[in-house]
């Protein structure tokens, strides 16, 4: 895809794809080696294997909550593959694949699932709210849309500092209704910082279908009203996602400003472990998996055509993924919960005296009393 496509936008409901069922790759797609494609595929398998593990841990009561991203692996891996080391990521809860793909050790993710004392968030957030400063993966809240404008602010700061980097951020289809979707595009359009905003249109905001989220047929067109070049890409086509991302990042790096990319995909699983999607869409999600729409199947078929996929490879990739993940989660399970006193840390740079008083009362009175009278006060 040439830079012309982003500049002008595709104002119809057209969608950028590479791995169509009719595609007959005679040569490698632009910018990708065989190794790249295999690495992206392996990254997607990691995400799906991690989801498999998360679900099991949650169902068996070993972790309290989980968020999976089954169906959205290409969104994460395609956008991540085009990132460079000094780039910033403002995710929401369904982009942990980006974190994994940037080489973060699995125990960082596993410790967060357990909220144990080695969790970088110190057990303060529900699972799925990862933070990792070393890779510029920024902590986020559960409030939808608020982080988008942070990404724009960070990009404005990088531009002010003349430090070349790209800031990427993600929002679901539901999040495009939030007030900060509007504020972030307003600022992005005016200041033209190096930010790329991805709308992960997985067609559902918990139970609400995208048709009831927005009166327009597509979401990327929202960007055009703010003067932000915007396109729509098949979010289940990891190569298309990569190529569109790479081009948008290149524009950002070249000082050409922001891009909005709608990645049309599908949330095959529930919103979270607390959601039962059969209440609002029957068995649709289950039926979607393992069809040709599934980004893993798409990639596999394409790789077969390239001659870089076979059953033995598939087995080996899954085996390695499961081994890494299971090792990390079993280790995380052994780690203690954070000390009570840590509850009071990191509210301020220095703990105010009144807060220190609350901490001391808890540790000196309540904790001691609870130990002495274990089990006497079940409520």
């Amino acid at each position: 895809m040439g830079s012309q496509s982003i500049e002008s936008g595709n104002t119809e409901t057209a969608i950028f794809q590479v791995m169509t069922s009719a595609a007959k790759p005679g040569k490698l797609p632009d910018g990708l080696s065989e190794e790249d494609i295999k690495r992206m595929y392996e990254g997607m398998v990691m995400v799906r294997a991690y989801d498999e593990r998360q679900k099991n841990l949650q169902r068996s009561g070993r972790i309290g909550f989980c968020v999976t991203s089954t169906g959205e692996e290409a969104v994460q891996i395609g956008t991540a593959h085009a990132l460079q080391a000094n780039d910033w990521v403002y995710p929401y809860y369904r982009q942990y694949g980006v974190l994994m793909y940037r080489g973060v050790p699995m125990d960082v993710l596993a410790n967060h699932l357990y909220g144990n004392e080695d969790d970088l968030a110190k057990g303060r957030q529900m699972p799925a709210h990862y933070t990792h400063k070393d890779t510029h993966f920024v902590s986020f809240s559960s409030v939808i849309g608020t982080h988008l404008i942070h990404a724009v602010g960070t990009a404005m700061a990088a531009k002010y500092r003349k430090e070349p980097c790209v800031v990427v951020t993600y929002i679901g289809d539901g999040g495009t209704s939030s007030s900060d979707f509007h504020s972030s595009l307003t600022f992005a359009g005016v200041y033209k910082p190096p930010v790329v905003l991805f709308i992960v249109n997985n067609q559902y905001a918990i139970s609400l279908p995208v048709s009831k989220q927005c009166g327009a047929d597509t979401l990327y067109t929202k960007g055009l009203g703010y003067g932000v070049p915007s396109i729509r890409v098949d979010g289940n086509d990891v190569i298309a996602v990569y190529q569109a991302s790479r081009e948008a990042y290149a524009r950002a790096r070249a000082g050409e400003g922001p891009t909005l990319i709608e990645l049309y995909t599908y949330r095959a699983g529930p919103h979270s472990s607390s959601d039962d999607p059969t209440r609002y869409r029957g068995a649709e999600g289950e039926q979607w998996l393992d069809t040709e729409k599934d980004p893993l199947v798409r990639a596999r078929l394409y790789m077969q055509k390239l001659g870089i996929w076979d059953e033995a490879y598939e087995e080996q990739v899954w085996e390695e993924a499961r081994t890494r993940i299971n090792l990390a989660t079993s280790e995380a399970e052994k780690i203690e919960e954070p000390d009570w006193g840590t509850l009071f840390d990191d509210v301020y740079a220095e703990m105010p005296p009144a807060l220190a008083r609350q901490r001391d009362e808890l540790l000196e009175k309540e904790q001691g009393f609870e130990r002495e009278h274990e089990g006497e006060f079940p409520l």
Binding site: L120, T186, F187
Partner: protein, 326 residues
């Protein structure tokens, strides 16, 4: 030293801090070429240029949200919210994001944004140019809330806020932006966030106040001394969170009587917290009930502003009530 109004002192703090640290950026509605609707940013655009001083689109959530992103990157943004009555669109950003960034990331990320915002009555601004929303922010862990009442403190506290590592809601009493001048040290100058200021010592009653309420408290205390011979201690809290608890308790232990004066609606206003603190930790010293003097529990009125905002008469009557309690 120079004679300055509170507004000039704020401007001086911004200039001084911007000169010493190129990470400091100032932005908000009309703060660039127009130099702010109150002219708090006068001269900044000319001195520091569009890169560091700029007028933003009209979205308060965008202003605060962008500031958060800049702070996460390592800058020291000092956004202005034109009137604190317009801070509510940014409330989500302040409460959900700004205040919690450090905590929720286990200390990985910090967010030292200083939000400047004029608050309170004094300009005949009616419902939406007069509010005092400080209690919303003192109720939010992770924020510091600072309100100066003198030009010297305005400069020193704002400089400390900008140099610090925590988010600060810096509320400026617009009623006294230009009401009087005071001595302000030139160049580098800070006043620490936290300690209260003893405006005047006294033995019969402790009056706790901040911002634009300090002046009517001073006048009322003077009248109480002249007319009745009562000796009021006036404490300007300056920092509402983290508040100087020991200064409050020490004063009450000395005088045995306490009054809190603030402009916001009385119920669940900031004075309630001070009254509760005294009840929890110094009740045995009290010789009279704690008195709260606040705005009424109504929206802020336009024509009748003069009777809504506590003035020296209401404070004087409050002093009388507490001192005559038997």
């Amino acid at each position: 030293m120079a004679q300055m109004t509170l507004l000039q002192a704020i401007n001086d703090a911004l200039k001084t801090e911007m000169r010493r640290d190129d990470r400091v950026l100032v932005f908000g509605e009309d703060v660039g070429v127009n130099e702010g609707v109150f002219r708090a940013t006068e001269g900044l655009y000319n001195e520091f240029g569009e890169e560091r001083v700029f007028s933003t689109p009209l979205t308060e959530t965008g202003i605060v949200g962008a500031a958060i992103g800049m702070a996460v990157y390592g800058l020291k943004p000092v956004p202005e919210i034109q009137f604190s009555d317009f801070i509510y669109p940014a409330f989500d950003q302040i409460v959900s994001e700004l205040a919690k960034f450090r905590y929720r990331s286990g200390g990985e990320y910090t967010c030292p944004v200083v939000i400047r915002t004029p608050y309170g009555g004094g300009i005949r601004g009616g419902l939406y140019h007069s509010q005092s929303p400080e209690a919303y922010f003192t109720h939010t862990p992770g924020l510091k809330v600072v309100i100066p009442s003198t030009p010297e403190d305005a400069k020193g506290l704002l400089a400390s806020a900008i140099r610090g590592d925590d988010p600060v809601i810096f509320m400026e009493p617009k009623k006294i932006y230009r009401a009087f001048k005071g001595e302000v040290p030139q160049g580098d100058f800070t006043v620490p966030i936290g300690p209260a200021r003893v405006v005047q010592e006294g033995t019969d009653l402790s009056i706790f106040c901040y911002g634009a309420m300090v002046e009517p408290c001073k006048l009322a205390a003077q009248k109480a001394a002249e007319k009745e011979g009562w000796s009021c201690e006036i404490i300007d809290l300056r920092t509402l969170y983290p508040v100087d608890e020991e200064a409050i308790l020490d004063s009450v232990r000395k005088t045995g009587r306490a009054m809190i004066v603030y402009e916001a609606p009385k119920t669940c206003g900031y004075g309630a917290e001070i009254a509760a603190l005294i009840a929890e930790r110094a009740i045995e010293y009290l010789e009279a009930p704690v008195k709260r003097i606040g705005g009424f529990d109504t929206p802020f009125p336009y024509t009748l502003e003069k009777i809504y905002v506590p003035d020296a008469i209401r404070v004087f009557l409050g002093i009388k009530e507490v001192l005559e309690y038997e």
